[in-house]
């Protein structure tokens, strides 16, 4: 069949569109001058400034506290919920509620949780952000684990039950080991989403304890500086490494099984 040559125009345009801003961003982070618009020579000075920026460091610490806590909470709750929904319930309504946090606009979840925290008189801070992030983290963990459960061999669980094991024993000895890769993938997803999350944190955090995305937001609003380019480059490098490593790992596990 004839190759549709004309289609290569939008194809390459898409990749150019996706990567041109990233290339510019990274390039300008090595600028020796103070303008993010004209390149005056190579320098690492903005990375030095970045390392010395206390706001960013504090934001990073806050983000990691929130992300680790939210990941632990959402992994435990999400895994239990996935097993419960797949093995101990046939409720369609429950399925719908389980995916709701993942499909609900973050703005709606953010203001809803703000209203909730004010209503129950909970002080806003890292704790309120952590609890908020666990809501959608849990939905994503549950979704990933459920896909894994759908492919899991149920005859092993049946055998365990027939041999007299309680559901709890069966869960820990049979189901959990089978689900481990799915749980790990779900936890990684929950962690990444929490680190990157801005809108919900924006509504549920205290001004004195901003997460990193909120620090970036105030920096960007304040003005454009090469320091933000340096920060953006570091963040890009981290997420590119994580995504490519995750890709490699999936391929590795796929080739093993």
């Amino acid at each position: 069949m004839r190759k549709p040559r004309l289609l290569y125009v939008p194809f390459w345009a898409t990749y150019l569109f996706l990567y041109a801003p990233i290339v510019v961003l990274v390039g300008m982070s090595f600028n020796s001058g103070g303008s993010p618009y004209s390149f005056d020579g190579f320098s690492l000075k903005w990375y030095g400034e970045l390392a010395g920026n206390a706001d960013i460091r504090q934001g990073l610490v806050n983000t990691l506290i929130v992300a680790v806590g939210a990941t632990v909470l959402s992994t435990v709750l999400g895994t239990l919920l996935a097993v419960g929904m797949a093995r101990h319930s046939r409720s369609k309504a429950l399925d719908a509620i389980g995916v709701l946090p993942a499909v609900l606009p973050d703005l709606v979840l953010g203001i809803g949780l703000l209203m909730f925290y004010v209503w129950v008189k909970m002080e806003l801070g890292l704790r309120s952000v952590l609890l908020a992030h666990a809501v959608f983290g849990m939905a994503f963990v549950a979704a990933v684990v459920r896909t894994r459960l759908a492919h899991a061999d149920t005859s092993l669980e049946e055998a365990s039950r027939d041999l007299g094991a309680t559901p709890v024993t069966t869960f820990f000895r049979i189901t959990l080991p089978q689900l481990a890769p799915g749980i790990a993938a779900g936890a990684l997803l929950a962690f990444t989403l929490s680190v990157d999350e801005f809108v919900i944190a924006f509504f549920t955090s205290a001004p004195t304890e901003p997460t990193l995305p909120i620090v970036i937001y105030s920096m960007v609003r304040f003005g454009v500086t090469p320091e933000i380019n340096a920060l953006a480059t570091v963040l890009l490098a981290v997420s590119f490494t994580v995504v490519i490593a995750a890709q490699r790992m999936t391929r590795l596990t796929e080739s093993l099984s």
Partner: protein, 295 residues
């Protein structure tokens, strides 16, 4: 009945009760914690949001528990209605552009050799996994007055243009942010398509254009619908892109909602706007379900 059989029947019944009881407790152990969490941190907040739409705002923020319909009548004020309609327009334009760029891209990715397919797909997803604010920031650098695009245009004797702070910049930012969400479902749908169907159509004398519109496009409709939803939904409720690229005025419904909560401190009206946002999205999801059932 001998004693042994009787005891066997009794213990069998006991085992049945025991297993029923253990099944009920298993349900509680597995479903209980997650469900309790969802009720507290999802359903109650949503119920609060719904209930606030019928109350009056307090003089200094907060809420007065007096039932009123004024939030809904205010929604019909052209001042606010225009913002909602404007957001619909911008999100629709962004979705259409993403579809026009995403479809050929997904189509070609699906026809690449296996090895390159993975590379091309990862390259589509990579930008999406980087911080959202960073991606929007990149466009400030590119589009602003002394920015790089104007610099490049100046070299060929054009401009400078006011590229930032307008609807064009907002649409660009939205397309840039959510294009990967368009390409992935399209790719999944096109990949599943049997190439023999296209060949058959070509063999029967149909032109490539005819084949596309009467074979390829109808068979990948589910991917088109899903991709459009994935781009439209986050675009419609967005407030970061319009704020950073659109110049900080309340141009989209997301900014309006944010302002009601953080500036005007009118939570009841903010909730009503959020409900309007949700209503639009629910209508779209119902349309998608309807289109899926028809297919």
């Amino acid at each position: 009945m001998t004693r042994s059989t009787r005891s066997a029947v009794v213990s069998g019944a006991a085992a049945k009760t025991r297993s029923r009881r253990s099944r009920a407790s298993a349900r509680l152990v597995f479903l209980g914690p997650g469900l309790a969490y969802l009720v507290a941190f999802l359903l109650i907040p949503l119920a609060l949001l719904l209930s606030y739409t019928v109350f009056r705002r307090g003089r200094f923020g907060g809420v007065v528990y007096e039932v009123t319909g004024e939030n809904f009548t205010r929604l019909l004020d052209p001042l606010y209605l225009d913002v909602v309609l404007g957001s619909l327009k911008l999100a629709t334009i962004a979705t259409v552009i993403a579809l026009l760029a995403g479809y050929p891209t997904a189509y070609l990715i699906a026809r690449l050799p296996r090895r390159w397919k993975t590379v091309a797909l990862v390259a589509i997803v990579l930008p999406f996994w980087t911080n959202f604010l960073v991606r929007v920031y990149a466009w400030i650098v590119l589009l602003s007055g002394p920015g790089l695009l104007n610099g490049a245009l100046g070299k060929i004797g054009l401009g400078p243009y006011e590229l930032l702070y307008g609807q064009g910049a907002i649409v660009t930012g939205l397309v840039y942010s959510y294009l990967p969400l368009m390409v992935l479902p399209l790719y999944a749908a096109i990949e599943k398509l049997d190439p023999q169907l296209r060949e058959a159509s070509a063999n029967l004398g149909a032109s490539p254009v005819r084949t596309f519109f009467s074979v390829t496009l109808p068979l990948t409709r589910s991917g088109v619908v899903t991709g459009c939803l994935f781009v439209f939904v986050p675009s419609f409720g967005n407030f970061i892109v319009p704020e950073l690229l659109g110049g900080g005025r309340s141009i989209m419904v997301g900014n309006l909602i944010r302002d009601q909560f953080l500036k005007a401190r009118d939570w009841p009206f903010g909730s009503t706007l959020a409900l309007a946002l949700l209503a639009v999205l629910i209508v779209l999801l119902l349309l998608q379900a309807w289109s899926a059932r028809r297919a």
